[in-house]
Amino acid sequence: MPAVDTHAEPRGASAAQDTFPKFLALNATRFADRPAMRHKDLGIWRTWTWREVADEVRAFALGLGELGLQRGDRVAIVGRNRPKLYWSMAAIQAWGGIPVPVYSDSVADEMAYVLEHAGASMAVVEDQEQVDKILSVSDRLPHLAHLIYDEPRGLRDYDHSRLHAFEAVQAKGRKAGEDAAKAAALEAAIAVGKGADLAIILYTSGTTGRPKGVMLSNDNVIISARNGGLFDHLRETEETIAYLPLAWVGDNIFSYAQSYVLGFCVNCPESAETIVEDRREIGMSYAFAPPRVYENLLTQTMVRMEDAGPLKKRMFHHFLGVARQWGEKILNKEPVPLSARLQYALGEVLVYGPLKNRFGFTNIRVGYTAGEAIGPEIFRFFRSLGINLKQLYGQTEASVYITAQPDGEIYADTVGKPNIDVEVKIADNGEVLYRSPGVFVGYYKDPEKTAETKTPDGWVRSGDAGFFDPKTGHLKIIDRAKDVGKLRSGALFAPKYLENKLKFYPNIKEAVAFGQDRDFVTCFLNIDLTAVGSWAERNNVSYGSYQELAGHREVLKMITAHVDEVNRSLAGEPMMAGSQIRRFLVLHKELDADDGELTRTQKVRRGFIADRYLPLVEALFDGSPRGRIRTEVTFEDGRKGVIEGDVEIIDMPVHEATGTAFREAAE
């Protein structure tokens, strides 16, 4: 655990600041004219200082008071990362209300479940799309009294008896603010708030069953945010870009809690499609993203470089070679010969600098990847460019922070050391347990599940199997504890471990491995349409759909080569040699969250997929050369259709186990 640098203690903050509205009041004085939030609107970055944010939040809070918000009321927040939605969190918390962010791409039924379960009395939503969704299920939501929207477009003719524009509520609030009694009531409500009160309820997407509402207190979130800031020496000068779902604990910590606690600026992109451009314009210093964002950046770069001229291509590959050899060593401040330093400096000017500028990583100080394992190639690529990308292991139940990699101790296959104030231990069955100030209060309305997950003395079962690497002292995560199984032969079967190895190939987007209690391991694959599509374009392969490309001879050949490489690498690992992939197929459709095959955070739901594609799973294990299936799919507009597929199953040769087992045999 790194020593706590007391000088990095957030400026002017003390134990008296135990809720977000109190932090906001503090920031409005200590950082009054520093930027708190930016939003690109109509092509221009608009900035709000902390003082202005405090004013906006106050107006909205007073407006909510007029609408009758009470202490303890739950208020749903639905939408993408927009300033007003972040402000509404603080405004709700000012009255002691509890914001409940909901995934904005949820279909109406999923949304209804969360709003119903949370018993939300109000909802603050982004636009007409979300208003429509909620209105369509309003008969299931008897508690929902008011609906407030940010973007008025298309809503002019709606019945406004329960529906309010954000500005209208603020106007109501500003008027109420002239009444000294009402203003004092708000001040009093803020003063009453304390650290033990609930700050937020976050519904976890859950790879199994209905989502659970994780209750986090102000203390949970604020102490975790502060410790996270200390761990990486974050200051009020950081810039981040908020683009991950509001309902995800990571966004709540990085784009809301840490911004309030440390006083740094959060930037909201113009739209979901402009993020790459917006990132470049902002040049964030503190970044957070799931591995797939980094994967996409790398895939896009490689795809575009394929189209570049020969000179540029040679320069690019030459300097990438230099970076691969020396970049990480330079970043880790290891001794490096002068000639390498000079070459790397030249590469910085010609290749790395412009590339980082493209990525928006020019000013990056700390970048995190979490949520899933990141491919070692991808991880090293970014680090070799001089980007301080690190891994973190966290959960909603821990207010994110469990372990993270300290600067200078970076390994592609670990998730780091316990964060400040976090205790981690490994149970006898290999499950990771942790205890920290960030540990959640409980699951909302579900004491049974809470008791299953959290012991009375505060230890939480993470559900993940892992171990501490004796060499580095870092934690390594193998898989979800319940997913780690055995083949019929008794050999270890860790599906996610295999899937991650496969997914590290840019051509493979998703993989689902099967093998529990079977004789051997098989798997489903999804090709990556960007990478394979670009390959198809370069090689004059024409295709009309995902299905057609996925079934193409040459594509299958390419994928077969990847699987073979994975098998060879598995053969080199004594524990894994038994789980080489014997048979696989490329699915005829992309796995999709709308069909329930992925969670909203894009993790595969293995059990669900196994049921849905049962005929294909059977075909994989019974030796038939092809599999046939009909599946129902949900289109983006909610209509259902049927996709029929006839997919080829490919048999793989098994590599002889090398590694330890092999050496033993040789002795």
Binding site: D41, L42, G43, I44, R153, G154, R156, D157, E270, S271, E273, T274, E277, F635, E636, D637
Partner: protein, 266 residues
């Protein structure tokens, strides 16, 4: 986006009337004695089988063709020969069946081009790009940005239009037409060649334009589902003649229309 320039015509009154219009190219009769009207604020569809004269009709309305016979009255004024730029200046904007954008220019520049008629400063001022010309440009840019926001095309703001997929080009073209703040918007097959999702987006934009700004819309479309859902009234052409006119339901039940679309046994 701001409302279009004010007008003395109230919603529901006739803004554009076509009376006994005929159009002939030599011996070929494209239109024969067609009459109908468009009321302010409505969505009016013109449908008909291929070659029925729908596009010719739109071309007459915006002054690209001049009818050989008959009159077109727009906002109470009848002009024997209206030039396209007069139509444009008068508040009629259109999009084309085959996208007609400046392919090498960015989305932003294309939509800015739609503001040309609204610019007051002369060429010299604009070349200088200073003082009043700059102030004017900023004002127009703001308007254009509102359209970009409205049509959700921020991500292609600076992309040359020629590089964009078809569906997006259509959207940019709509944007350019909207930049004129038209009173009447003529859309020639706005959804041709689009996939379902693009069509749905386009429908939403058309309805939003109509609801929010009260813009009168006349559109030609082949997708019957779209026509029936979007339009308030439909006029049906066949071989240059009007064979039906009414609400979508009336038109759907009209025997002449059914015959025109499905054919009659001979």
């Amino acid at each position: 986006m701001r409302a279009p320039s004010p007008t003395d015509i109230a919603a529901g009154e006739v803004i554009l009337a076509v009376e006994n219009v005929s159009l002939a190219f030599g011996g070929v009769k494209a239109l024969t004695d067609v009459s109908f009207d468009i009321k302010k604020g409505e969505v009016r569809a013109i449908i008909g089988p291929n070659g029925a004269g729908k596009t010719s009709m739109l071309n007459c309305i915006n002054g690209f063709y001049h009818p050989t016979e008959g009159r077109i009255t727009f906002r109470g004024k009848t002009r024997p020969k209206m030039r396209p730029y007069e139509a444009a200046a008068g508040g009629i904007a259109r999009t084309f069946q085959n996208v007609a954008l400046f392919k090498g220019m960015s989305t932003l520049d294309n939509i800015m081009a739609g503001r040309t008629l609204k610019m007051n400063k002369g060429f010299f001022w604009q070349v200088l790009r200073h003082g009043p010309a700059m102030a004017e440009e900023i004002e127009h840019r703001h308007f254009v940005e509102e359209i970009i926001d409205f049509l959700e095309i921020q991500h292609i703001r600076k992309v040359p239009v020629g590089k964009l997929p078809y569906g997006l080009q259509k959207r940019v073209e709509l944007g350019r037409a909207l930049a004129m703040q038209p009173e009447v918007l003529l859309l020639d097959e706005p959804m041709a060649g689009m996939n379902l999702e693009e069509k749905e987006d386009m429908c939403r934009f058309i309805l939003d334009v109509s609801n929010q700004y009260g813009t009168t819309i006349a559109l030609i479309e082949h997708d019957m589902g779209v026509v029936m859902d979007l339009s308030d009234r439909v006029v049906v052409l066949e071989y240059g003649r009007k064979i039906a006119d009414g609400t979508p339901d009336e038109v759907k039940r009209d025997q002449a229309v059914i015959d025109a679309y499905l054919g009659v046994p001979h």
